[in-house]
């Protein structure tokens, strides 16, 4: 069974609600305060650390999150591939 970070997944899932997504885009901190994220996870969210977050959530939720967060697909894919190459290194 895959290990999933429930709180992080919950954040990404909840951001499907337009009002929640709008609030998040206006200022992440107030939204992040409502989730019991581990400090390292919260830091990764704050720094758009795709590689770190990718190992903790379903790939569809990850993709959806970075779409909401405003990261273009090309940049998102580049981060995913860089992380993969780094992991192989």
């Amino acid at each position: 069974m895959l290990v999933r970070d429930y709180e992080l997944s919950r954040l990404f899932f909840d951001l499907q609600t337009p009002a929640c997504a709008e609030e998040y885009r206006a200022g992440r901190q107030a939204v992040l305060d409502r989730y019991r994220l581990e400090p390292a996870v919260r830091t990764a969210v704050e720094h758009d650390d795709v590689a770190f977050l990718a190992s903790r959530v379903n790939p569809y939720l990850l993709r959806f999150y970075f779409f909401v967060a405003g990261m273009p697909d090309a940049e998102f894919i580049r981060h995913l591939r860089d992380a993969d190459e780094g992991g192989k290194g």
């Binding site: 379903n58 790939p59 993709r63």
Partner: protein, 275 residues
């Protein structure tokens, strides 16, 4: 008695709508041909109800509760909630068919399946993009069947095929004069949120299609059981085509169109079966 009037499959993907402006004319032609032919067939089959098998893209279900198979038994379903689709898809509600859905659930329970049920589902882009792009208007009542193709562990390929065989028995034992269609929505190869995101595995798609066209469901099941774990995660949705193949008894497959469309990240296929 009910009649199985049509069996179909089609790909979906958000970018088919969201990135339509960026799709090349040649690729638009493939997608338009596939969806148009699908719509023409559905309209000419004069359906009284349409069973659609599609994944849930984290719209209805979450890690709290992830059914392998869920049947929508409500009198109506909510339209898509994806902001990029709500303005384009013309229905906020889609009629259901509670009696037929209930009969499918009862038949499943009598045949070794224990699906979950929902009286109120949101039908996301997996359900609504084929309906929208194929121009299925007016919409027949929809019986949604959600397969978990998104978050492991997945139902086995064989189980999906057997679900299709059971679904045919359910339709053919429904004691009312209805013309019923079945649509498998999803696939073919694509990869979402993984390092291979954007990659389309055209060789896999074509071999997969050749196995649908072959005369051995066992070969198809074996091929997909071995290969699905080795290709992009979106290919998991081919389970919905496998269920349609089961409805057809593993024969009568006809490819309508196929194109690897990088602008939408999906190997897009369209097919039908002889009912």
């Amino acid at each position: 008695m009910a009649v199985l009037a049509g069996i179909y499959a089609a790909s979906h993907g958000p970018l088919i709508v969201r990135n339509w402006d960026q799709v090349t004319p040649a690729h638009r032609e493939v997608l338009n041909a596939g969806f148009s032919d699908l719509g023409r067939r559905i309209r000419s089959d004069r359906l009284d109800a349409l069973v659609i098998i599609s994944p849930d893209h984290w719209v209805n279900f979450f890690l709290d509760n992830l059914p392998s198979i869920c049947v929508g038994v409500g009198a109506w379903h909510e339209g898509p909630n994806e902001p990029w689709l709500t303005g384009r898809f013309p229905h906020r509600q889609l009629a259901g068919h509670p009696a037929l859905a209930g009969h499918i659930v009862e038949t499943a329970l009598q045949n070794g399946f224990e699906p979950s049920i929902s009286h109120r589902l949101i039908l996301d882009h997996g359900f609504c993009i084929p309906l929208l792009k194929a121009g299925v208007e007016p919409l027949p009542p929809i019986v949604p069947v959600i397969f978990n193709d998104i978050e492991p562990p997945f139902p086995s390929v064989r189980r999906c095929y057997e679900w299709g065989r059971m679904l045919r028995r359910a339709i053919e034992s429904w004691p009312h004069d209805l013309r019923i269609g079945v649509l498998g929505s999803g696939g073919l190869s694509h990869s979402i949120g993984e390092p291979t995101m954007g990659r389309i595995e055209e060789d896999f798609d074509r071999e997969c299609l050749s196995h649908f066209a072959g005369n051995s469901p066992e070969v198809l099941i074996d091929y997909l059981t071995r290969t699905l774990p080795t290709v992009g995660n979106g290919a998991s949705e081919i389970r919905n085509w496998v269920a349609a193949h089961g409805v057809a008894g593993g024969k009568g497959f006809s490819l309508i169109a196929y194109g690897a469309i990088p602008e939408v990240f999906v190997g897009c296929g369209f097919a039908c079966w002889t009912p």
